[in-house]
Amino acid sequence: MNFEAIKSIYVFEMARLRRTLLQSVISPVITTSLYFIVFGTAIGSRIQTVEGVSYGSFITPGLIMLTLLTQCISNGSIGIYFPKFTGTIYEILSAPVAMTEIIIGYVGAAATKGLIIGLIILATASFFVDIRIAHPFMMVLFLVLTAVTFSMFGFIIGIWAKNFEQLNIIPMLVVPPLTFLGGSFYSINMLPPFWQTVSHFNPVLYLVSGFRWSFYEIADVNPMVSLGMISLFLVICLSILGWIFKTGYRLRN
């Protein structure tokens, strides 16, 4: 194992977070605060509680997930896409580094950034609403598994993308609808039966539901099913990465 290389990639990627602090940290915080103001205050004043939890508190786990997913995907994808775009990737590909080490470096950094921002959002949320975490260990587990899985997913997008449009299409066009429709802002029990069924095909539902359960012990699906689904996504991403590295897809061809 080339630990120096993993460390180098990780440190290098984290340095970018410091350079783009404003964009990486401040902007998600402002966005989330806006969600609290608009959804929490305007809509929340009419809904008041969902399954016994105040509306503002109810949406907090979903908002953290929304930010975590978006951040992990975009950090994971830009981390590998940018060197591909500028050409500096030659150095990583010609270094004595195995693909697993490259992934650990890039995905580790993207996941760390996502987690930091997720925790900042949690802290921000606590200024607006009451936060109670019933299962801290499970909460961290959901957070870490989601961060790692979606950073990997981002990494895959970064390798696949041939231009900036493709790079942005999933974080911009796919993730927000899935998050909005995945029960971030409501319990799917509030939906008509047909849409409840449709929602079960939305992977984000399982993430949000499991994560919310770790806070308030309320869930749209069994938390163990959520955990199983996240693990399944993780395995799918790992398999795709395994295939990419075996074939050199869009890297060594």
Partner: protein, 312 residues
């Protein structure tokens, strides 16, 4: 001398069907400077990319330090430093950070003293805290070399190191290469500037159309293929070639003011003396005399044209 890189029947066909290499065999000796010459699209960069692990070979084998570049990539890549053709840099990074990163990614423990000496050697020390986007093209090129040297490679690949570089910087680059050679580093450079190969290489290989057309000691190549030409500017124009001069391989310029003698390498030495004495006896005076040796460029152009003719 021992081969440090050994290439056996190497081919590469890209996904789009383009065959970049059509069976290349090449032994690169330790400590030498090898120049690979070839026109654009000849396969030079593909060859280097395979040795360095950037591109997977289709068939054939490459050994670096006796180990296979695909199977034992950790060992082989540790020996190699690569300076690619394109100036690819992380615009927002500092010189110091990017060079330190390069060392780390090769699995070497941080060594600020070494990075410092590399930067000083390449006259980059004063720029160590500058962002790469603030540097001139020549400076960036040197940063690329510094990055390639940061992990103390035994073999250095320079892919078109002086493409788009001004004359001064080119000279400077040659000095850098010369210094590196003194430290025992094997250097392989690709170029389409023939004078570059002529100036610094020990051996010259010519690649075209995915094949290695020849590989030869530079001096031997020049000697074998080099032609010489003697040109005599006459004081008085000649209307026709005098009979006594017809035994020499001479041509008279159209306006009759110059005599041109073509000869091959050393063979001409005896004939030149007799030619000059014949001229004196014929009372033909010349006001100037020049000789010219064909450069690698002429050789190269002739060779590529010849092969193209054969293939047609």
């Amino acid at each position: 001398m021992a081969s440090v890189v050994s290439i056996d029947k190497l081919t590469k066909t890209y996904e789009n069907g383009f065959q970049a290499l059509k069976g290349v065999d090449l032994e690169i000796e330790e400590g030498e400077i090898l120049a690979l010459l070839g026109p654009n699209g000849a396969g030079k960069t593909t060859l280097i990319s395979i040795i360095c692990g950037l591109v997977n070979p289709s068939t054939g084998k490459v050994l670096v330090g006796g180990r296979d570049v695909v199977r034992d990539f950790r060992q082989t890549r540790s020996l190699i430093g690569l300076v690619p053709q394109e100036l690819t840099t992380d615009m927002f990074e500092t010189v110091w950070n990017t060079v330190t990163f390069s060392r780390g990614i090769y699995g070497k423990k941080p060594n600020p003293a070494l990075v410092e000496s590399v930067l000083k050697e390449l006259s980059l020390w004063s720029k160590k805290d500058s962002m790469l986007r603030e540097l001139s093209g020549g400076m960036k090129r040197r940063v690329m070399i510094a990055k390639a040297l940061a992990h103390e490679p035994k073999i250095l690949f320079l892919d078109e190191p002086t493409a788009g570089v001004d004359v001064n910087l080119r000279r400077e680059m040659w000095q850098v290469v010369e210094k590196l050679r003194e430290t025992g580093v094997t250097i392989i450079l690709t170029t389409h500037y023939i004078e570059e190969a002529e100036e610094i290489a020990d051996r010259v290989g010519v690649i075209n159309g995915g094949k290695l057309l020849l590989i030869e000691e530079k001096a031997a190549l020049m000697k074998k293929l080099g032609r010489k030409q003697l040109r005599l500017e006459l004081s008085e124009p000649l209307k026709a070639m005098p009979e006594s001069l017809k035994t020499y391989n001479l041509t008279l310029s159209d306006d009759g003011t110059a005599l041109v003698h073509d000869y091959q390498g050393e063979e001409g030495q005896g004939t030149i003396a007799s030619l000059l004495s014949t001229l004196a006896s014929e009372n033909i005076h010349f006001r100037d005399l020049s000789t010219r040796q064909s450069s690698l460029e002429d050789i190269f152009v002739a060779l590529v044209a010849e092969k193209a003719g054969e293939d047609a």
